[in-house]
Amino acid sequence: MTSTGFVLRMAAREGRASWRRLLVLTAAVAVGVAALVAINAFSDNLRISVKDQARSLLGADMALVSRRPLPPLAEAVLDTVSRGGAVARVAQFAAMAYVPRTAGTQLVQVTAAEPGYPFYGEIVTAPATAWSRLHDGANVVVEPALLAQLGAKVGDTLSLGESRLTIIGVTTRIPGDVGVRAAFGARVFIPWRLLQATELLGAGARAEYAAYVRLPADADALKLAGRYRNTLRPERVRIRTVEEDRNNLTETLDRLGNYLGLVALMALLLGGLGVASAVSVFIRRKLDSIAVLRCLGASSGQVFSVYLLQAVGMGLLGSLLGVLGGIVIQQLLPLVLRDFLPVAVSSAPSARAIGLGLVVGLWVSSIFALLPLLTVRRVPPLAALRRDVDPSPSRRDPLTLPTLGLLALSIVALTALQVGNWQTALYFSLGIGGAVTVLWLASLGLTRAVRRWNPARWPYVWRQGLANLHRPSNQTTTVVLALGFGAFLLATLYLVQHNLLRQLDLSGGTGRPNLVVLDIQPDQLAPAESLLKADGLRLTGPVPIVPMRISAINGRPVLRTGDDSVEVDSAAGAGGPGGSQRRAAWAVRREYRSTYRDTLVSSEKLTAGKWWAPGAAPPASPYAVSIEVGLASELNVTLGDTITWDVQGLPVITRITSMREVNWARFEPNFFVVFEPGVLERAPQSALLLTRVDDPSARGRIQRRLVERFSNLTAVDISNVQAAVEKLVGQVTLAIRFMALFSLITGAVVLAGAVATSRYQRVREGALLRTLGATRGQILRVVIAEYAALGLIAAIAGLGLAVAAAWALARWVFESPFGVPASVAGLGILVVAGTALIGLLNSRDVVRRAPLEVLRGE
């Protein structure tokens, strides 16, 4: 078709000469596409890796897992399903490891395994034979980090509880192990048969017991799991299968990928803003040519197509560059996320991610170009003839609203494509819409304000700079949107991280304990106390801990059903209508570690009922308990309800007489349930002690002495825990920040583009001003005034939005208190200074070129 021929030829010729003007468009699209391709390719590879390595993640076809040694019923099931296959038992728990040669102690995570474990996948060790020799004697294989922590080497003796073991090697790869786990203690592997000898798993010790099963070839793990799951649930035994594990893991990792992808998408949408601004400036410069083309007989559709094609062409170039960049960045992502990944992830490019990146990049550049391109359709041919005809049409194109609708729909659709969920996409898009509206209003307010109140008494350079904000074809809105949005994203992340960490600030307050001694048996309490006191330490505690479970609520027994998510009371009682009340399953099934005392502690606040009066009459059944408010709502109980506890086989009936709010973030012994004194004193229990030791080396010495004397004790250095938590939070935020960085880069590209597009105008203005006698310094100050004002309004609006968003997240998602650190202001100053700097760098020409040269070149 001749029309198509003309459009193509014309677009190609125009593009040949003016592609530089659309480079901003290309760059803005490229950054977003790169982020998107990188994260999506990474997610794809991760999914493939999980699929490939799923069996070695579990290490077996199926596993029976419990918090207690497997009960007889579970043993019977195990016998049945493993016929023709094999079983390996494993126990995992935390303990103190001690190396006598170096006198180092360290909290470790012990895995005691039977030979055969893992059935699939391989624990790789150095030397390579270490794993196969583990069961040959009193041997132990440890993570390399532990050797460094203890100053030990292979061949040393490691003391674990009452056992003395020889370190015969270190692990180099543990299938399915997540790096961050190491923050909470290095892993050590011992033979199952030595478990008893360590004497670490006494009554009430926290451990996970599992039986790993290799099924006969023809068995179906899923079917077996389905058959026995409900039977074993009341016994508190879980069944894990490869397939379910893989699905759970894939789901979790998908969610991680989706949300990181969402951050990438934000960069791309911000790039869309750059597209719209670049195209709008581009078209403004083309209005004369467009009018001439119309005079020469080109239809509005043809002209529109000529320029759309150029925008799309540059968008395609940007998408291609973005794909290349994405493939490079993809190599970095495994490094950033390394500690969260249970599998080795390849960094091969993913065809799906590349295709998606190209399509989404092209779509974003087209849809965002469309709105400014509509102007083209209404350029009057008369403009070629008459200088006084404003070539930019004043009337709104009837397609404006449909185009805006298409744009909004595209954002929702792209988001839905990324997160795979329409509802989230809608909320997210509404959030973006809200943020953009606030930023747009801020820029509007700024231009209105400086137009109305440009103070006549201010020095000329400031007035001129501020006046530039509302001159014709200004870039105020674009810059405020781009910068404000980038600042908003980064500041939100920063505030959330700050508030999460602040809440977990354990070292704060010099008097707070920083060493916790756990699992003290009643007969060890007095000697342990005197050992600590001998060092002149002030002790908090002992805090008694009594393990128990719920056996009935308001007289109705619980835990007799296989319902997965909630526990439904048997309808036998005279309860509410229908007789069933929903209670969270985990809250009903879990093991409670409760305490008893006569006072509230500082991390608690009474919210309902009355605390028991000290020295009151001796307690009588039902005994008084105080329950944490969150748990009360999970259990669906309130003041006056009775709970029957199974305390090591003995029923204890209690009545809820008060409710407490607990600040769990304080690393202090906090409890869901507190008993009144005089009830649990004779129950089997352990105790914990807290103390504060300021000197780290003294802390190590005391831990060591305790472990030497009482091998079953666990001494936790809270500063280590804090460091671990900080590392964890730091790594999560690093990953998110890494992706958010792309938004900032896009913001800078858009800003630089906005500045560059007005450069011609500025150079002329500068020349004119200099002809009139302005010095270079004055002109530069005009530029600084203009950009500092832009940066300031973008920073205020962006940070304001961030504070609101972070507050909302703290309030409803993290349910934590909220504060704004002064350092946020630093971020604001950075935005203002950065904006002024980019403005200045782009304005060098304004003062460098001779005024005459510029004016004559007109």
Partner: protein
């Protein structure tokens, strides 16, 4: 070839109705050469725009080669312009991103005609064969206007509208441009409508219409 009846154009200016053209009626035969003259602000360019179908009149009608412009949409008028009309502007209005040759090719390509031979011939005709690959910015004002002339004749228009074609040129260059226009008028039989305030230039036309305050004050053909 060209006929207008009761052509009136009014604009709203500051809430007041401003009459720029009032009740213009005349007809122009084939191959004619008409000059529209008058002081600035007399409505010359407005009349030219209406005659060429670049704008719609408030009242009255224009018939171009028998077609009533008033009954056509903007895109239909664009097609008509592409087929039958050529333009020359005071400020040349070449497309800066295209070479001289490409600028001349545009009208032919728009109407889907072969665009190889004729543009080169036309450029040679205006004496710019050697500079066909130069961009407008690399050409002098006179050269740019010659390219514009070549472009105007590219699609063998039935009528050429020229708005102050020499207004931005010195008199010698302007004179050569007018010579060229006359030559082309003669050779191709193209009707020419020329707007100018240069009376010497207008004197070359076979017919002169004088406008004053938007009213047809004098028509040498009358």
């Amino acid at each position: 070839m060209l006929r207008c009846e009761g052509l009136t154009q009014t604009y709203l200016s500051g809430g007041r109705e401003l009459t720029v053209l009032k009740d213009i009626t005349f007809a122009l035969e084939d191959s004619g050469f008409l000059a529209i003259v008058g002081p600035s602000g007399s409505g010359k360019t407005t009349l030219l725009g209406l005659l060429a179908g670049l704008d719609r009149p408030s009242r009255g009608s224009v018939f171009l080669d028998g077609a009533d412009l008033g009954g056509m949409t903007e895109d239909q008028r664009a097609r008509l312009r592409g087929d039958k009309v050529g333009f020359v502007f005071q400020s040349f209005q070449l497309i800066p991103t295209l070479t001289a040759l490409e600028n001349v090719q545009v009208p032919l390509e728009l109407s889907g005609r072969p665009a190889d031979e004729r543009p080169r011939e036309l450029l040679a005709r205006v004496g710019l064969a050697e500079r066909s690959h130069h961009y407008p910015a690399q050409l002098s004002g006179g050269e740019q206007q010659r390219v514009a002339l070549a472009r105007a004749f590219a699609n063998r228009p039935r009528i050429l509208f020229a708005d102050e074609p020499t207004g931005n040129l010195d008199s010698a260059t302007g004179g050569s441009i007018v010579e060229l226009m006359l030559e082309l008028n003669r050779d191709f039989g193209t009707t020419i409508v020329l707007v100018t305030h240069d009376l010497t230039l207008a004197g070359r036309a076979r017919r002169i219409i004088r406008l004053a305050d938007g009213v047809l004050a004098n028509d040498t053909a009358a």
